[in-house]
Symmetry: C2
Amino acid sequence: MKCMDAGSSRAWQLLVRFFFAQRERLPAAGDGLDLSPAQWHVLHLIEPEQPVPMGRLADTLGCDASNVTGLVDRLEARGLVERRASAGDRRVKVLHLTPTGSRLRAQLLRQIAGGSCRLARLSSQDQRTLVRILETLIDDPR
Amino acid sequence: MKCMDAGSSRAWQLLVRFFFAQRERLPAAGDGLDLSPAQWHVLHLIEPEQPVPMGRLADTLGCDASNVTGLVDRLEARGLVERRASAGDRRVKVLHLTPTGSRLRAQLLRQIAGGSCRLARLSSQDQRTLVRILETLIDDPR
DNA sequence: TATTGTTATACTCTATAACTATA
DNA sequence: TATAGTTATAGAGTATAACAATA
């Protein structure tokens, strides 16, 4: 199969290794904030003033809708997000960050930024290239 | 703090998002093999003919020892790994891959290699750059 | 006494299937 | 009928605390 050429295969192997190495450190990142990795991810995905429908969240997370229900239940119980009925289609519920949620998210982003120390050692050019490549990888459908 | 400059912070955020995006897709990778992400990870870590003590596995996974007990219980129930008492210290149990486990692990590695499809769409130059950058990130101590 | 792994317990994450309300 | 979200249920992952066997 042509997707296993040397360059991309090597890059993939490195990404997987880097991914696993960092993954173990991610829960620690949200540790002081009492967030599980999944909650951490959800909070990361909802930007203030930019509400997200639950269905889209399920798509982005790549998990079942029933799962999102529980996830949001817990976040809502902590007063971090709010469900509101969508104006156009009343079956849809959109998620808004509360002020508390917004503040916690900001803390979270600061913690994430703190993890970028290694990346800061890259040259500016490499940083730009990395950003561009990652954007390609993330945006590319499937 | 100087590690929070715009370029590295953006790159880090994208890396984190990419990790999570992949994380949700990992079960799919082991899907045909009926492996959860955690089991996937454990099997990935035990090389044939190179047994691993349970304690070291807990360290590598970054989780509690009690967690490893359950994880290994399920793998052992499927005949993929085997607990054996260590010769030197009989408190320690080392994990060996069974022939079945070894075969499944080989399949797993082939699937991982297949995951490089997205990366194959990058230009050769980008692939080389990505490899170089990732090597820097991984080799750099902490 | 200290360490390795297990057990008991509790909570979160995850999926499937059946259900409700809306379209 | 089809879709968005919920509920019920079950299994896996995770941590803490108490425990057994060994050092």
